[in-house]
């Protein structure tokens, strides 16, 4: 198996997925997430859905310790991935982030860098790979992000010369080039047109056999198209912290929701 994978890293099936336990998060004194619990199984796509402001993105940013970068932000509770406590005191936040890939709402390639440089920048930061293998890694990552055929002849052109959808696939390539065990996606298609969105969704399905994916989306159809499991979060009143209402297989959440709030949301009556 290892020989077939040009990318370094551990085998995804040797670790369990992501588990979030009793997680609460604050911005200053404002509690935005309360008592969040979630198990995202390994090598599956787990979607987090819910209305705007329900704390989905915050949950995601707690997983790779991006939340704590905001001044005054605070986290309580546990996040474990592959049995490792992400918030262990002796664990450096930077090394956590380099193990967990993240894709943002808007495509954010580094504008002064080329397509190639963008693809391998994470590997450069991690300093785990000899220089001679960088091109190989770029090709693998760009292929997995289904971008290779479109960019192979212009790898050294600026990343911003790509279309929005291509830029977002480049950002996905950048995130998976380090072969992270977990990929977090924060509404990755919200800035894209339907065709670009379709390509990204296709790509998420394709990489799901290799990576554990957690995707935040406010597009319920997207959740049904790409995810195996779905968690529904909501807030009761404006200003309340977001909570997980229901979690289950995507078919169950959309087909036979147990909680009335979930039912109201997925049927389009609320939110």
């Amino acid at each position: 198996m290892f020989a077939a994978h040009p990318l370094p890293g551990r085998e995804a099936d040797q670790v369990d997925g992501l588990s979030i336990d009793r997680l609460s998060a604050w911005f200053g004194r404002h509690k935005v997430v309360e008592d969040m619990r979630l198990r995202a199984p390994s090598r599956k796509v787990t979607a987090l859905i819910g209305p705007s402001g329900c704390g989905k993105s915050t949950v995601l940013r707690c997983v790779n310790r991006m939340h704590e970068l905001v001044p005054g932000a605070r986290v309580q509770g546990g996040v474990h991935f592959g049995g490792v406590d992400v918030y262990a005191p002796d664990l450096d936040a930077g090394s956590v982030r380099s193990e967990i890939g993240m894709v943002f709402q808007r495509p954010n390639p580094f504008p002064t860098k080329s397509i190639y440089e963008n693809a391998i920048i994470g590997v450069r930061i991690a300093r785990t790979t000899p220089r001679g293998r960088l091109m190989e890694i770029a090709e693998t990552a760009l292929s997995r992000a289904q971008l290779w055929d479109e960019v192979k002849d212009r790898l050294h052109k600026p990343a911003v010369s790509l279309s929005g959808g291509q830029q977002q696939r480049l950002c996905i390539a950048r995130a998976i080039a380090v072969d992270p065990s977990l990929l977090l996606m924060d509404e990755p298609c919200s800035a894209l047109d339907p065709i670009a969105t379709f390509k990204i969704e296709e790509l998420i399905r394709a990489i799901a056999d290799r990576y554990t994916v957690v995707i935040v989306t406010h597009n319920m159809h997207q959740a049904t198209r790409v995810s195996d499991y779905t968690g529904f979060m909501t807030i009761e009143n404006a200003g309340d912290p977001g909570r997980l209402v229901e979690f289950g297989a995507t078919t169950q959440i959309f087909g036979a929701p147990v909680n009335p709030a979930t039912e109201a949301y997925v049927s389009g009556r609320v939110g």
């Binding site: 982030r97 954010n108 580094f110 930061i125 950048r174």
Partner: protein, 337 residues
């Protein structure tokens, strides 16, 4: 999407805009305001043009007498050798002043730019959040110190402080043949280098302030992209902040250069005002275009002396305008990138 947006242009043609939205509708206030703005803008341009014309007119007798470009081909300033009739060689050569201006500005830039970039990064991305604002004001405060105070401080505090270092350099590197020439002694305290050092401190705040704004404009999502890949703070700065800021830093430096080129009183106090010719060592005394004017205009009694100072002023204005225009172009391009 509503049908209106689909056939937008056609719709506008069919339904003319309400009168209030059509162009060419003016009130008296508009024309008064327009005229006032045009007038104030015109006055600024007029003052600049008048200044150039004035400098040329005042310098014209000397230019006529010695030839128009003889002052910028000669590097010997010896007013006592001037006479009312003799026209060659031009005793009012100004190459050594251009050299002094360029050298002191260069020394100032080499020292100030890295310090200012560092200071700006500390303020925007490194220092604890609580300290950023106070630090920022502190740097701005440096800009408020009057020029003459810098000169005074340079003379009585800076020179004694740098003397041991400079003496060490002149007695080691300065004794090496050829390479040592620009670093030779003796060091009298006042020198090109001292002036450059004072200039560095004077232009640091403006460069730091512009860099600070440039660094602050780094999009948050690009910083987050770097951090999410596991970058340390320094790596984040190197990957997300600095590459974007390159032209901004160049522009900031050119603004600083513009200041350095024109700075007069502090430089005059610490450069030594050796006007005769170029001195090869940066630790030797010299003069700049602005310092010679400030130093000599009150006692310019020799033939064509005062007129030649106007010639210096004219070329100084040209140099300053070019540097400032360059800075503006680069900064504007940098911001819109």
């Amino acid at each position: 999407m509503s049908p209106a947006s689909a056939g937008g242009i056609a719709a506008i043609e069919r339904h003319p805009l309400p009168i209030a939205l059509r162009g060419e509708r003016r009130r008296l206030g508009d024309s008064v305001f327009g005229a006032a703005v045009a007038l104030t803008g015109g006055v600024v341009l007029l003052v600049l043009a008048a200044m150039v014309v004035f400098l040329v007119l005042q310098g014209l007798p000397a230019m006529r007498h010695y030839g128009f470009f003889s002052s910028i081909t000669s590097q010997r300033w010896a007013p006592s050798e001037a006479s009312a009739t003799l026209s060659t060689p031009n005793p009012y050569g100004i190459v050594q002043f251009i050299y002094g201006t360029v050298l002191t500005s260069l020394i100032g830039m080499v020292i100030a730019v890295p310090l200012a970039v560092g200071a700006a990064l500390v303020i925007t991305d490194v220092a604890p959040r609580r300290l950023r604002r106070p630090l920022s004001s502190l740097v701005d405060l440096l800009a408020a110190v009057p020029s003459v105070v810098y000169g005074f401080w340079g003379l009585f505090a800076l020179i004694p402080a740098i003397r041991p270092v400079v003496d060490f350099i002149t007695s080691t590197l300065g004794t090496v043949p050829v390479i040592g020439v620009p670093f030779g002694g003796p060091f009298f305290g006042v020198s090109y280098f001292t002036a450059g050092l004072v200039l560095a401190i004077m232009i640091l705040p403006i460069i730091a302030a512009v860099c600070r704004e440039v660094f602050r404009s780094t999009p948050r999502n690009e910083k987050e992209a770097a951090v999410a890949l596991g970058a340390t703070r320094w790596e984040m700065i190197r990957i997300a902040v600095l590459p974007r800021a390159r032209s901004g830093i160049v522009g900031a430096s050119l603004i600083g250069l513009g200041r350095a080129v024109g700075e007069t009183i502090a430089v005059t106090m610490v450069i030594g005002n050796a006007v005769l010719h170029i001195n090869p060592s940066i630790f030797d005394q010299g003069a700049t275009m602005s310092s010679v004017i400030a130093n000599e205009f009150t006692e310019a009694t020799e033939p064509f002396h005062l007129e030649s100072l106007f010639v210096v002023g004219f070329w100084l204005l040209i140099v300053a305008l070019v540097v400032n225009m360059l800075a503006r172009v680069v900064v504007r391009r940098g911001v819109s990138l």
